[in-house]
């Protein structure tokens, strides 16, 4: 580890400060290796490459990457649960998953080497945010199938920090533990950090009575305004990081203390920015959809995975000394996925739940808003004769049933509001399904 003049450290200076030429050579070698492996062991990729009329040997430079077909969430869905794994299950030591576009989730696996890589990469961005072995890291992400908590947990341990595996929920207890255990680093979604700040304010606890100095926030989009608010109210430096479970989880990219975009770990992932409509690769600096190819993952490699996240890549040098490209905060999605309290929600999932309830027609509208710091999801459902009862007891029971099913499928609470028929905006072609009133 090397101390920089501004006090920031670099976890793996040899890799993180590679010259562009050297980096590209490494990327090419690793890319070819990945392509050979998926060609041999993942039928879906072999089939896709064949359809595109390309074999791994045809990729003779990094520029040839753009000749390869994209991988989408739909491909993962069709190969549920283990069809995209490139190693036998016996080699897999960890399984995580994220919500799918419909009822079934997306399953990802890691072998021992993958977990080691993941841990290293998380250690990189945590170090970049100022975390050291002297820190007490309070992890308020939910532990479970979601990659956030485990990813940050092992990364922080690798650095040598003391980890508090707090998990999510129980805000009062979180605050007590942060005070008593003197947590110095908070890991959570940015909206949950705001909830903590709100609660502290109500309890009359100022940031000076905590020991927090750094916040590592991710798993949902957030704005610069929110960063300023969190920094003032919690008395911390708030940093952003990026990852998605299909690619690995947190540790794909993360900010340094200059907060000028998230360094994307290019020795493990090759990013491209494409036009989401044509699929064409856009010139450096353009805003478009982020596409990622993993070049070191063994159990679950992805080739040109369409993240659906809209961003921009900045190749100009950063004052921190890291040479990796910086990815701007995500600016939106090219699909209709919503991120609610850090949980991915697709309107199609909700449509499916409504379809399963007898008499329910899928005329619905999702209204997302922020009450205080928390996201609230309201599902407006048009009433029809089959789901209208003249007894209030039955009508309420119907609403409760929908709310229960939504919660158990989405993993996040939703409020159901019955509305009169034809009150939804109806458009020619694609119906408007989502109104997002959050000001991000």
């Amino acid at each position: 580890m090397k101390a920089m003049k501004n006090g920031g450290r670099i976890w793996d200076p040899v890799s993180e400060c590679l010259g562009r030429e050297e980096l590209e050579l490494l990327q090419f070698t690793r890319l070819r290796d990945t392509l050979e492996r998926v060609w041999r062991s993942v039928p879906c990729y072999q089939q896709k490459f064949r359809q595109a009329g390309i074999v791994p040997q045809d990729v003779r430079s990094l520029a040839d990457l753009s000749r390869l077909p994209f991988t989408t969430k739909e491909d993962l869905r069709l190969n549920y649960p283990y069809g995209m794994f490139a190693v036998p299950l016996r080699e897999v030591v960890r399984i995580h998953s994220s919500s799918g576009t419909t009822g079934k989730p997306t399953v990802v696996g890691y072998n021992r080497q993958d977990l080691q890589t993941w841990t290293e990469l998380v250690a990189r961005f945590m170090t970049a945010a100022g975390v050291t072995e002297d820190d007490i890291v309070h992890i308020a992400f939910g532990y479970g199938l979601f990659t956030g908590a485990f990813g940050l947990h092992y990364g922080a341990e690798r650095i040598g920090a003391s980890v508090i595996p707090m998990s999510s929920g129980n805000t009062d207890k979180q605050i007590m533990i942060m005070q008593d255990y003197r947590s110095t680093v908070l890991v959570s979604t940015p909206s949950y950090a705001l909830t903590l700040a709100d609660r502290m304010e109500k309890m009359g606890i100022g940031p000076e009575s905590l020991s927090l100095k750094v916040g590592l926030f991710g798993a949902e989009p957030w704005s610069e305004e929110m960063r300023r608010e969190l920094e003032t109210r919690l008395g911390i430096v708030a940093t952003d990081n990026f990852g998605l479970s299909e690619v690995m989880g947190p540790g794909v990219a993360g900010e340094c203390l200059y907060k000028g975009g998230m360094h994307l770990f290019e020795d493990h992932f090759i990013p491209e920015i494409i036009d989401p409509d044509t699929g064409e690769v856009l010139p450096p600096g353009s805003v478009g959809e982020l596409v990622i190819t993993s070049i070191t993952k063994e159990a679950f490699p992805v080739v040109r995975y369409r993240t659906r996240d809209i961003t921009r890549l900045d190749y100009t040098p950063c004052s921190c000394g890291r040479t990796f490209v910086r990815m701007a905060k995500t600016m939106g999605r090219t699909d209709d996925m919503l991120i609610i309290k850090g949980v991915n929600v697709f309107p199609t999932q909700i449509e499916e739940i409504l379809f399963q309830v007898e008499g329910c027609e899928p005329h619905y509208l999702l209204v997302v808003d922020r009450e205080g710091a928390m996201d609230v999801l309201e599902v407006q459902v048009e009433v029809n004769e089959a789901i209208f009862f003249d007894e209030m007891k039955k009508q309420r029971a119907f609403v409760d049933l929908l709310e229960k099913r939504l919660f158990s499928t989405l993993g996040v609470g939703a409020r159901v509001k019955l509305v009169e028929p034809s009150s939804m905006p109806r458009h020619e072609g694609k119906a408007q399904r989502v109104i997002d009133r959050r000001k991000l």
Binding site: E385, F388, D390, R396
Partner: protein, 143 residues
């Protein structure tokens, strides 16, 4: 001896109730009795009118969600313990009332209670056996 009632789903926003009364009023439908059950989001308006089917079809034409249900209209003397006499009969027969509302006849000494039962036939049988007058739909419509 059951009475037809229409129920209308009404979103809790200003002017919706007035729209219902305008639509059926302009269609020449007269309201005999009504009750409104509401939550913060929506309400269920129940009406007994003189032309049930006509009211239902004009409301549907205007985009309302309407259901037709059968309720029981019982007559009680308009005096203290009048309602109680009916309720105690139902209670001792263990008949559950889903909801009820009442109105007083224009002339005469009686009140009319509208009941929604899970099993209206059984309720009618019990009430009749205990000497309670059950009113026909026609009677209620022509009041």
């Amino acid at each position: 001896m059951k009475v037809e009632q229409i129920s209308i789903f009404i979103e809790n926003k200003s002017g919706r109730l007035a729209e219902v009364t305008q639509v059926i009023g302009e269609a020449g439908v007269n309201i005999r009795a009504l009750s409104l059950a509401d939550t913060s989001d929506f309400g269920i308006l129940r009406l007994i009118v003189d032309k049930t089917d006509h009211a239902k079809s004009v409301l549907k034409e205007h985009g309302f969600t309407v259901n037709k249900t059968e309720v029981v209209a019982a007559e009680v003397p308009d005096r203290p313990l009048g309602l109680h006499s009916i309720l105690s009969i139902l209670d001792s027969a263990r008949i559950n009332v889903e909801y009820m509302y009442a109105f007083v006849e224009r002339c005469g000494q009686n009140a009319v209670i509208i009941f929604r039962f899970d099993n209206p036939d059984e309720a009618i049988e019990v009430l009749t056996r205990n000497g309670i007058t059950i009113l026909s739909g026609e009677r209620v419509s022509n009041m």
